[in-house]
Point group: C2
DNA sequence: TCGTTCATGTAAGACGTTACATGATTGT
DNA sequence: ACAATCATGTAACGTCTTACATGAACGA
């Protein structure tokens, strides 16, 4: 269901083709809701069938530009106001932490260091997104910045946690 | 794939039935990798077919106790050391943030307040888990505490972020 | 005896991933 | 002429959710 609303949400901003949406996904939404090319095209077909979006223009190479319909906008609003998000988040990085006991402490330590390094990378990637995006004062910019702020805090938190977690490890044998 | 290793990981600690695993999931792993009853039983069958686990005991009411085999333990280790976790995390709560522009600011504000309240609840739930668990100095305890520490930091971060995010909202019209 | 907990399983359908397949257009 | 990019679509397979279905054992 969420991918569906991610697409409607992007189309609420402005009309776009599947290809456009794919690009825009990479730059922002991919961080909170990854989707593949095949998934996006399939979902767009379904949305068009359901008349939540409509082809508003056709271009070269079979390009189809979709626009949000009134029904689509209503559905999007309904999702935002009348349904609750699932709070649980699947986190494979953390799942592994539970089982670090089955490998030697030295490797567990390494795993935690990798998380710390990975978080630094993530933070750097966000900085790039931040620099590469042209931020305006439109809604998507305002709320996009908000989401970005979350990402930054998330990675910083991860880094700090990983450092702390290493200190909790059984001391190195010598 | 991850559920599979979640189960192997729990069985690495000690033998258990599907029902046992279901209970243990609720208390801890559900926070990082939710799974339903039907999924767990189905996966256990597959794992037994693949001889990564084996029925080590049968009890009343058709109870089947599974034990990790050597192959299973090797597979678990391999997963931990030779494969990389997927870093991306699907987050519906945050996905919605991107699209708050389609609803009036007052409702957006409410949404952010709900996140703040939800985080407080999450934190409280973790506190309960912390109190209800009997922590030893075994590996699962050590690493379970570590994961719990992550959860606490996560919720605190979310709370702080939500408060900050509210301040970024367009000021209330009057 | 009766409700709760223990205990397992199957099936349909939605959602997600990976891979394959095709071809037009643009820029160098 | 050729490579890169634009552009869309399908198929197979795996995973996850929801719902259904059944019944034994335990404790009050």
């Amino acid at each position: 269901m969420s991918l569906r609303y991610a697409l409607l949400g992007l189309l609420a901003d402005r009309p776009a083709s599947g290809y456009d949406l794919l690009q825009r996904f990479k730059g922002s939404l991919a961080n909170v809701w990854p989707a593949t090319q095949s998934q996006i095209y399939t979902e767009l077909s379904k949305l068009a069938d359901a008349e939540l979006i409509a082809v508003s223009d056709e271009g070269p190479r079979g390009r189809k530009e979709y626009t949000l319909t009134d029904t689509g906008r209503a559905d999007l609003r309904h999702w935002l106001t009348d349904t609750k998000p699932k709070r649980v988040v699947r986190n494979e990085v953390l799942l592994r932490v539970f089982f670090l006991g089955v490998i030697p402490p030295a490797q567990a330590r390494e795993y935690l260091s990798d998380i710390e390094a990975g978080s630094a990378e993530g933070l750097a990637a966000l900085a790039e997104v931040k620099a590469a995006t042209d931020w305006g004062d439109d809604d998507l910019s305002t709320y996009g910045r908000m989401a970005l702020g979350w990402g930054e805090r998330f990675y910083v938190m991860n880094q700090q946690w990983a450092r702390w977690a290493r200190e909790q490890l059984p001391p190195v044998e010598r």
